[in-house]
């Protein structure tokens, strides 16, 4: 069993992810208590874990960027890029789920009073710029350096932006709505944890999957060049 796991990590991850996703969906819809908000509140079991996973991806991307700059680990640049790619995907999902929640709750597609959501908007813009940067420089060590530096700026921007948005709210809006709602009961917490595990697993699976694909691409290219 363990040999199979070692030889097929990506497939194993896919299985794990599928299991966790199924479990979390089951828990969300059948186990967790229905709240005053009704069905809309269920979105949080998706929204918050997705948001946290997105942070995790950006953090992992920054870590790999740091490894690239400091240790010159050869695979670090690609890993950093893929991690940030996943982070942006999950970030976009965060914005979408948050937006849906806002629409159902308050009737508007966007609300500036949700600090988390605004932070994600800023980060989303920042990391989209990361891709613009990456695709406007020819591949090579210099591009890796530039992207790594920018990824580190991004991870530093997260807390600073959060502070900024907090501060801004006191001159933009007098009241602050927190989207995560009141403290969670145990059953809610358990559901939340499973959902979070599912999202992390999904992100890691996609990360490994994309990495494997990109490595295959690189190997093929090398082979082609050798044969040419």
């Amino acid at each position: 069993m363990s040999t199979w796991l070692r030889n097929n990590p990506v497939t194993a991850l896919a299985v794990l992810t599928a299991a966790l996703l199924t479990a979390s969906i089951a828990l969300i819809f059948f186990y967790a208590p229905v709240d005053a908000d009704g069905l809309n509140q269920k979105i949080f079991y998706f929204h918050v874990p997705i948001a946290l996973t997105s942070y995790a991806c950006f953090g992992w991307g920054a870590l790999k960027a740091f490894m690239h700059l400091w240790k010159r680990t050869p695979t670090a640049d690609l890993e950093s890029y893929v991690a940030i790619h996943q982070g942006v995907i999950f970030g976009a999902l965060t914005l979408v789920t948050g937006s849906i929640w806002a629409k159902v709750r308050w009737g508007t597609w966007w609300t500036w009073s949700d600090e988390q959501l605004v932070l994600f908007l800023v980060l989303f813009l920042f990391y989209c710029a990361y891709f613009m940067l990456r695709f406007s420089v020819d591949p090579g060590p210099q591009r890796a350096n530039l992207c790594a530096v920018y990824a580190l700026f991004g991870v530093v921007l997260i807390p600073i932006s959060f502070l900024a948005i907090r501060l801004a709210n006191s001159y933009i809006h007098p009241t602050v709505f927190r989207s995560s709602g009141p403290a969670m009961a145990t059953s809610q917490f358990a559901t939340f944890c499973v959902a979070w595990a599912a999202m992390l697993s999904l992100a890691y699976f996609l990360y490994r999957f994309e990495l494997a694909g990109k490595r295959l691409d690189a190997n093929l290219k090398e082979l082609r060049e050798l044969l040419a």
Binding site: L133, N145, V156, S161, A164, L167
Partner: protein, 213 residues
């Protein structure tokens, strides 16, 4: 340490001399900022508050800084003059610091024109705004100079710099506008200091990686 300071001084003086002779960046920044303020007058419908105008002042400052920053590494890039600086034994971060000093000077001059113009067109400026402008300038220039070097390497250059820079400028805008309009600007000024320290350090440390091939 003294050598480092000497290198920075030499490089900063070089950039200031170049601008004094070429006279292309600073006049453009001055004209840009005043034109922008006039545009803002037409962009604010009547009954707009003074506070809205204050917010727009900060927009003007950030975009004027962008105009200056876009020109920051033009010579180094077009004539490969960065090679000359990279061959020299000076620390790479000294190149960044020297360039920051020069860009800061240009931005300062632009603001010496912009702030009185703003006071004339819109409303008066308090001391907290002026302090905020000084603090914000440091952060804008620190991050902007580094990103200008990053953009200079790319194919899209001038297009890329605003895209890279604006998300990082959002905290500066928050700090600046907050300090200009809030009753107790201390928090915002403190925040601007935090931004300056954090991003100056990270820009200073990472410049070397941006310029090496």
């Amino acid at each position: 340490m003294r050598r480092y300071a000497a290198d920075v001084a030499v490089l900063a003086r070089k950039d200031l001399t170049l601008e004094l002779r070429a006279r292309d960046t600073l006049p453009a920044m001055l004209l840009f900022v005043v034109s922008t303020l006039v545009v803002f007058h037409f962009a604010l419908p009547k009954h707009s508050s003074d506070l809205a105008a204050k917010g727009l002042l900060w927009v003007a400052i950030v975009f004027t800084a962008l105009v200056g920053l876009t020109r920051a590494f033009v010579a180094e890039r077009e004539q490969r003059l960065i090679d000359g600086l990279l061959l020299a034994p000076c620390d790479r971060s000294a190149i960044w610091l020297g360039k920051c000093a020069a860009v800061l000077a240009f931005l300062g001059v632009a603001e010496l024109v912009a702030l009185p113009a703003y006071a004339a067109f819109f409303s008066g400026i308090g001391w907290s705004t002026i302090v905020a402008v000084v603090l914000a300038d440091i952060g804008i220039v620190a991050v902007g100079t580094l990103l200008a070097a990053v953009a200079a390497v790319s194919r899209t250059r001038e297009l890329l710099l605003p895209v890279l820079f604006l998300p990082l400028a959002i905290p500066v805008i928050v700090g600046g506008v907050g300090a200009s309009v809030a009753e107790s600007p201390g928090r915002y000024l403190g925040f601007l200091c935090l931004y300056d320290v954090v991003f100056a350090i990270i820009s200073w440390a990472s410049f070397e990686y941006v310029v090496t091939e």
